[in-house]
């Protein structure tokens, strides 16, 4: 009888969730590095002089995150209202 040995995790080859269970619990936080990376590149494209890039990136990231949260809240509100006033309570 043979026993299958667990294979070692290789970064960039095997997914991180194979090594760290429950990574799904923090999936929403993964938007932060994404927004920061997009902000850095976008601000760099827009500027010839890179002085003030860090502050511009920070401010742009905050604005993007704020408006995404605002849109999410509006969608949640519309969903809530549609459930209660159009379809009736769930239970």
């Amino acid at each position: 009888m043979t026993t299958a040995l667990p294979l070692a995790w290789i970064p960039f080859i095997n997914p991180l969730y194979s090594e760290i269970p429950h990574l799904t619990a923090i999936w929403l936080l993964l938007i932060i590095p994404l927004v920061v990376a997009i902000s850095v590149v976008y601000q760099t494209v827009r500027r010839n002089d890179l002085a003030g890039l860090a502050l511009g990136t920070l401010w742009f990231s905050i604005k993007v995150l704020f408006f995404m949260a605002l849109i999410a809240a509006v969608i949640q509100l519309v969903f809530f209202l549609s459930i209660h006033y159009l379809a009736g309570p769930l239970n």
Binding site: N14, L30, L50
Partner: protein
């Protein structure tokens, strides 16, 4: 110092820089002398792509039935090309999901790599705009030329 090496890369070198900028993100701007921009672009694009690859591993690339993400990832250049070449050795077609499969994280990882490609497209458009500008040969009338006084 960076501005002293900067030209707008017009002519053939500009178009070679465009291709180089696709293959290696940031290299195009480096070739036309925008060194500081090039470093930030290279760090940003490679960082985002490899963060996605760290999260989702090779299964984040060339997803079955998700060709649009695949095309977007190819815009990143060499990381996507090498990743697609290496993937079949570790994940043969129609292989099972990796252990502890987390579909949400897998989607996020795919999006990271795809968005890195889309950002590289934005950088290439910026490079194209830069090389398309005519190089200032003569001073503008009524305005002294900068750095030649």
């Amino acid at each position: 110092m960076a501005s002293s090496t900067e030209d707008n890369g017009s002519g053939a070198i500009g178009y070679i820089a465009l291709v180089a900028g696709w293959i290696v993100p940031g290299l195009g701007h480096w070739m036309v002398g925008r060194r500081k921009h090039a470093k930030i672009f290279a760090l940003g694009i490679h960082g985002l792509f490899f963060l996605g690859l760290l999260l989702g591993g090779l299964p984040a690339l060339n997803r079955p039935r998700q060709q649009l993400w695949d095309y977007a990832q190819y815009l990143t250049g060499w990381p996507a090309i090498v990743g697609d070449m290496v993937k079949p050795h570790y994940y043969p077609p129609k292989s099972h999901h990796p252990p502890g499969f987390a579909p949400l994280i897998q989607e996020v990882a795919t999006a990271y790599c795809g968005l890195a490609g889309m950002l590289n497209l934005l950088i290439l458009v910026d490079l194209f705009m830069h090389i398309s500008e005519p190089a200032p040969q003569t001073p503008v009338p009524g305005r002294p030329a900068e750095g030649h006084q």
